[in-house]
């Protein structure tokens, strides 16, 4: 039986992990390589690297780091952040990324999804959508959640999947950082609309929230989180043990 995936997300700026990471026993807590290794050893099913660098020098550092991670860690790697063109896909895939996630780049240029899917295969293209309720309607936000595009989110996601996105990450801006659980209502709406793997993001505050997520929506494939893993609030082995106890299939 296919297992539910647990995915830590690392924000990288100028080649270093940011957003503060607070582990005991790690010599260099902002090294993407030591963190990636740590998570891989803990049983993370996949890693997402999000490049928040603005400068060209920072971008080059990011790809160097990615190459190093991909030659040390042998689980699937997804890369996002600053993906605007097919050349950007090429740049990160050459360094060992398995999937590339597009967000604002696809909003600016929706044909990017189809072109990338045609060249690299659907399985390689992940549509990441930042979604927030505005007057009771799910809207897509761009630029890291700062700008309301006015587009209705479910329609946008359907369009992306039709164009060839092989997976969807749904980040709920409404629940992000609140640590009160995933946005079940939003995820359910997306789940009912598309038939590709869906990765839930935003709102996890503890182990119970993952159990709730997979119980409430059995068709959700994965749960993604950042700070609760980085700050050790949730240890991946404990999370997987609990999910297993609750009858939710996980890789252990």
């Amino acid at each position: 039986m296919i297992t539910k995936r647990i995915i830590p997300c690392l924000d990288v700026k100028d080649g270093r992990v940011v957003k503060g990471v607070n582990f005991l026993g790690l010599a260099d807590v902002s090294s993407p390589i030591s963190l990636a290794k740590y998570y891989s050893d803990c049983g993370a099913d996949e890693l997402v690297f999000y490049d928040i660098t603005a400068s060209a020098e920072g971008r080059a550092l990011f790809t160097d780091i990615l190459c190093e991670v991909a030659s040390t860690i042998f689980i699937p790697l997804t890369v996002g952040g600053g993906i605007n063109t097919l050349d950007d896909f090429d740049r990160v895939l050459k360094c060992g990324a398995d999937k590339v996630s597009v967000n604002s780049g696809a909003i600016r240029n929706p044909s990017l999804i189809g072109e990338a899917a045609k060249r690299y295969g659907d399985q390689c293209v992940v549509l990441s959508a930042d979604v927030k309720r505005v007057d009771g309607v799910f809207r897509v936000f761009a630029k890291g959640g700062r700008e309301n595009t006015g587009m209705e989110a479910i329609e946008w996601i359907k369009r992306g999947v039709d164009a060839g996105a092989g997976e969807v990450v749904v980040n709920s801006i409404d629940t992000d950082g609140v640590k009160n659980g995933f946005d079940i209502e939003m995820l359910e709406a997306v789940s009912n609309a598309v038939n590709v793997p869906i990765i839930a993001s935003g709102g996890a505050g503890g182990i119970d929230h993952f159990t709730q997520l997979f119980r409430a929506i059995p068709t959700i494939d994965a749960g993604l989180a950042a700070s609760i893993f980085h700050f050790g609030e949730v240890a991946i082995p404990d999370l997987k043990e609990e999910l297993h106890k609750q009858g939710i299939p996980v890789r252990r």
Partner: protein
């Protein structure tokens, strides 16, 4: 020396790195002589079967891979590379494979419960027959590996070396003596995958 066949499909960085990490002497090559001199050959592959088979023919390596396998050299196909070991594929038409293993590639949708998502993406458990092929001697029943595929091997029961369950039974690995193939990605399957690659290097 292990030679990874480079015939212009997909990126071989991770695959090469995974062999390096288990201590193998590995090269990525499109040179027939290097394949002939190698102790073991790895046939990778992503994308569509017809396109990949054509590229392998155009590279002039199609027959070289067959000849080397027939000479008894260990050959490991991975993902689409595994699919190419079989006789044919029905992915968008009908295409001829290397024919080293009896069987055909068909859509997983013909096998599985139709409410499930396709491709089959993620970590799933391996189940082995009573008599395991030596490639899997160091991994356990139920170990998880990473899959990404929409097609799988059918009519290959006599060479099925592992299966996985996804709303039905899918072929996870095939093997016939020195010719082996994994539908999953050992280079993306953590320690279980690396163990399989290491075992291949020692066969």
């Amino acid at each position: 020396m292990i030679a990874i066949v480079d015939y212009g499909v997909g990126n071989l960085f991770s695959l090469k790195s995974s062999f390096v990490s288990v201590g193998a002497d590995v090269v990525v090559t499109n040179d027939a002589d290097v394949l002939r001199k190698a102790d073991r050959i790895v046939l990778p592959g992503v994308g569509a079967f017809g396109d990949a088979a054509k590229k392998l023919r155009d590279s002039g390596l199609f027959q070289v891979v067959i000849d080397e396998a027939n000479s008894g050299k260990p050959l490991l196909g991975i993902c689409l590379g595994m699919q190419m070991l079989l006789e044919k594929s029905y992915e968008y038409g009908e295409h001829e494979g290397l024919g080293l293993i009896k069987g055909a590639i068909r859509p997983i949708g013909e096998t599985i419960d139709n409410t499930l998502k396709i491709p089959h993406i993620g970590w799933n458990a391996l189940h082995f027959p009573e008599e395991k092929h030596p490639l899997f001697k160091n991994v356990n029943e139920g170990d998880h590996v990473y899959f990404v595929h929409s097609y799988h091997g059918t009519d290959c029961a006599e060479s099925t070396a592992a299966i996985t369950e996804y709303g039905g039974i899918l072929t996870a690995a095939v093997a016939k003596d020195n010719v082996m193939g994994c539908q999953f990605h050992p280079e993306k399957s953590g320690n279980v995958g690396l163990t399989i690659l290491k075992t291949f290097c020692e066969l």
